[in-house]
């Protein structure tokens, strides 16, 4: 057959896209595509025409296993499918925290944010020891958004402090005084980061302060959790 004949190319492409071109004819058509621009173009055009029909099909979620298998095959275990946002992975963090009494770990997690901004930096804050006045030690996770504008913390296990105390979060620079990032009621908080507030800092720390936060603007109570990170 002469595949450079536009009508023939168009008819075959239509049947290919519609799915009615079958068996050996379909295989043959596919094998011809790379060498025949006219067929390729006709096929592309038919696919564009017909594909909107699939918009009517209700989505069906495949099992999570599919992504795991794909991920293995493309040679990367590290990328996570994005629906699992940082806080949906608490089980993961809990598991990690169990081993994280070894100080703290700063992790840049590939969170698959659908944009060009860098991924968030996730900092695990581990207990620093038995702090007087603290309820059972717990760990927090802090996530610094990729653009550096916000920081969100969540407790991994429930955090409770006495009513006359507050947990306060600090950015601790290598040199100079810690800068307050705000209070964390129950270990949770969302902080809009002022420009440069993290500049030079390599540690996040949480201290136990009088209710309402440090009266002096400097940490006054014991450090209950800390974690290292690097920007």
């Amino acid at each position: 057959m002469d595949y450079s004949r536009p009508e023939l190319a168009d008819r075959l492409a239509a049947e290919y896209a519609a799915g009615t071109l079958r068996g050996p004819a379909r295989r043959r058509f596919e094998s011809l595509l790379p060498a025949h621009p006219l067929l390729r173009e006709a096929t592309r055009a038919w696919e564009e025409r017909l594909m909107p029909l699939t918009a009517a099909i209700a989505p069906v979620q495949p099992s999570g296993d599919v992504w795991r298998r794909i991920s293995e095959r493309i040679g990367g275990g590290e990328a996570k499918a994005a629906s699992a946002g940082p806080w949906n992975r608490l089980a993961f963090w809990r598991g990690l925290a169990a081993f994280a009494s070894v100080a703290a770990i700063g992790l840049a997690v590939l969170l698959a944010n659908p944009s060009a901004v860098p991924p968030p930096i996730v900092v695990v804050l581990a207990p620093t020891g038995t702090a007087p006045g603290a309820t059972p030690p717990a760990s927090l996770v802090a996530s610094i958004s990729g653009d550096g504008a916000t920081l969100v913390t969540r407790p991994i296990v429930p955090v409770a402090v006495q009513p006359d105390r507050s947990l306060e979060l600090w950015a601790v620079p290598k040199e100079g005084a810690p800068r307050s990032l705000g209070l964390l009621p129950g270990g949770s908080g969302t902080v809009a980061l002022r420009a440069k507030v993290l500049a030079g800092a390599d540690t996040l720390a949480v201290t136990l302060e009088p209710a309402g936060g440090s009266p002096t603007g400097k940490p006054t109570g014991p450090i209950v959790y800390a974690g290292k990170f690097s920007l």
């Binding site: 168009d10 008819r11 239509a14 049947e15 896209a17 519609a18 799915g19 009615t20 079958r22 068996g23 379909r26 596919e30 592309r44 038919w46 696919e47 564009e48 025409r49 017909l50 594909m51 909107p52 029909l53 699939t54 918009a55 009517a56 099909i57 209700a58 989505p59 069906v60 979620q61 495949p62 099992s63 296993d65 599919v66 992504w67 298998r69 794909i70 991920s71 095959r73 493309i74 990367g76 590290e78 990328a79 996570k80 499918a81 994005a82 629906s83 590939l110 969170l111 698959a112 944010n113 659908p114 991924p119």
Partner: protein, 212 residues
């Protein structure tokens, strides 16, 4: 209709960007792409190959192929969702090839029976729960110019196209299903596709004129 079109464009841009990043080896972008498109592609595959385990295998193949071919995707040439969906449909149709010796068709009679069960049962259950091809067609018709053009087809032409496109049925299977001669079905499908093409070209011209 301005809003949905804007959403569609936005979504297309986003998917194109993710594909471009995947094309240079960005696994995180690829993971996001999977997240945003896998339930659609899976549904498309599942309508053609109703065996869930097989459909998941196909989906896996599809995304491995997408990962490898992402750098060949040309946003100037194709809509990303069309590109992805075509890969998924083609893989799904390929998978039918191997099973083609035993086509399993949904017939109202078989659904009523019940005793000569075997694996037909699974098929019937799934088929009954899901909307039929014509339901899908009427839903799709809300969306775009394609819908209006579908309206121009005769009922039987429409049904033939829907069975072939959504269920992945061959001409012979469509003929069987509609209890019509094979040659008749072939010419319905063919004429239906030609009508659609002419109609859509008209729609493009009209849209172009309106936009400029």
């Amino acid at each position: 209709m301005v809003k949905p079109v804007a959403d569609w464009t936005q979504r297309s841009l986003e998917l194109s960007r993710l594909l471009a990043r995947a094309g240079v080896g960005d696994r995180a972008a690829f993971a996001t792409l999977y997240e945003q498109t896998s339930s659609h592609l899976f549904a498309v595959v599942l309508r053609i190959n109703r065996d869930r385990a097989q459909a998941e295998d196909i989906l896996q193949e599809v995304y491995v192929k997408v990962w490898r071919a992402a750098q060949t995707f040309d946003a100037a040439q194709s809509q990303p969702l069309t590109w992805l969906t075509s890969i998924a449909r083609n893989r799904a149709i390929d998978s039918l090839r191997r099973e083609q010796t035993q086509p399993r068709l949904q017939t109202p009679v078989a659904a009523a029976g019940g005793t000569d069960a075997e694996d037909d049962d699974v098929y019937e259950t799934v088929a009954d729960a899901a909307p039929g091809p014509l339901d899908l067609l009427s839903r799709a018709t809300d969306a775009r110019a394609l819908g209006e053009c579908m309206e121009k087809l005769s009922a039987l032409q429409r049904q033939s196209v829907a069975l072939a496109f959504y269920q992945g049925l061959s001409h012979a299977e469509v003929a069987d299903q509609l209890r019509q001669p094979l040659g008749t079905v072939k010419s319905w499908v063919r004429r239906a596709l030609l009508t659609l093409k002419a109609c859509l070209q008209g729609a493009v011209v009209r849209d172009g004129a309106g936009a400029s």
